[in-house]
């Protein structure tokens, strides 16, 4: 029997909406109001997200962000600070029931299983992608995708990024560096450790081409069929509520 999942492409939104909508879908899934879901999204304006346990002051140059009109938000998932460039990055979320056949009690194993959808999708584009523990996907030995997972209310939520283009100097203009002397060195280190579809394939890859490949990758790897869907009013109402109550608040974003 074919297992149908919902596919959402929510397009460009600000950081607060993007993070609130992920949580709203988790809520909807926990109440069985929606099927298992894969969502693609992008960030407008460009934004920085930090991991659940990171300090906003220590990781992000918020005054530089304010000047450049870049949003900053704390995620519900752990992991590190990520610069989400409007034009250089695609973000995805997987929201599914925890008692699903693909989910192991072992987080590390589940990262590998869920990331296989991305790996398969990237390979279809000709990228020799591989999963690298704990939570990365690499190509040519460099990171091309970072992922973060959480669980609760019998729902597994994993989101992550795929880099189409990368500009480390822009990245470090909004992330804090320990001191100015080593800024150039850190930019160089990122140059050496991070790559993008453009760098690996030596051509421009469009968002639609990438999404199409990833859809096929997820379908193959998870043995599912993705069907274009829409948001429920429950999800829309809860995302609006979560923006106001959580993701756009100083209390949440600066809590650590």
């Amino acid at each position: 029997m074919v297992e149908y999942w919902r596919l959402l492409d929510t397009g460009l939104h600000d950081a607060f909406y993007n993070m609130a909508l992920d949580e709203a879908i988790v809520l909807a899934r926990s109440k069985n109001l929606v099927p298992n879901t894969i969502r693609f999204f992008r960030w407008e304006p460009s934004a920085v997200s930090i991991g659940h346990f990171q300090s906003m002051e220590e990781e992000v140059d918020t005054s530089a962000c304010d000047k450049k009109g870049i949003d900053y938000v704390r995620r519900r998932t752990g992991g590190g600070a990520v610069y989400h460039d409007r034009d250089g990055e695609l973000t995805y979320s997987i929201i599914m029931n925890q008692d699903h056949r693909l989910i192991s009690p072992d987080f590390q194993k589940t990262y590998e299983t869920l990331c296989l959808g991305l790996v398969r999708g990237l390979r279809r584009l000709g990228v020799q992608a591989e999963f690298k523990p704990i939570n990365d996907i690499i190509a040519d030995g460099k990171k091309i995708s970072g992922n973060a997972q959480t669980r609760g209310m019998n729902v597994v939520h994993q989101h992550g990024t795929i880099l189409l283009k990368v500009d480390p100097s822009l990245m470090f203009s909004v992330l804090r560096v320990p001191n100015e002397k080593i800024r150039d060195k850190m930019v160089k280190t990122v140059e050496e450790r991070v790559t993008s579809l453009e760098r690996v394939l030596k051509r421009d890859v469009g968002f639609d081409e990438l999404k199409e490949s990833l859809v096929k990758g997820f379908e193959e790897a998870f043995n599912i069929k993705l069907v274009d869907g829409t948001l429920t009013s429950f999800e829309e109402q809860n995302s609006s509520r979560l923006i106001i109550e959580k993701y756009a608040t100083t209390e949440w974003n600066f809590r650590r």
Binding site: G51, H52, F53, Q54, S55, E58, R76, T77, G78, G79, G80, A81, F107, Q108, I134, N135, A148, Q149, T150, R151, G152, R256
Partner: protein, 94 residues
């Protein structure tokens, strides 16, 4: 407030801010890019070491017990790593 940070080999980065009184932990703030599940436990995990001496094994034991008691999961950093970094911050105190 004393600070230390530790990059775990093959794992994540831990940052510690520490306040001590008479060589005992008064308050600790743990930040970094590790994973703790469920996430809400972080405040309680910080509190679980309050009152401990700056002894790596004693602190690691407290965190280990806390993790077990709460059926929590750590990824990218272990109780021993947190303990090591907390003691590093304490030593920095001089």
């Amino acid at each position: 407030m004393n600070k230390a940070q530790l990059k775990v080999e093959g794992g994540k980065l831990i940052k510690i801010q520490l306040e001590t009184v008479d060589d005992k932990i008064k308050k600790v703030k743990i930040t970094g890019d590790f994973f703790l599940h469920p996430e809400e436990l972080i405040d309680d995990m910080e509190r679980t070491v309050t009152g401990a001496s700056l002894d790596e094994k004693a602190i690691a034991d407290r965190i280990k017990k806390f993790i077990l008691r709460n059926k929590a999961v750590l990824l990218g950093a272990s109780p021993e790593d947190f303990a090591k970094c907390i003691v590093m911050a304490g030593v920095d105190n001089g």
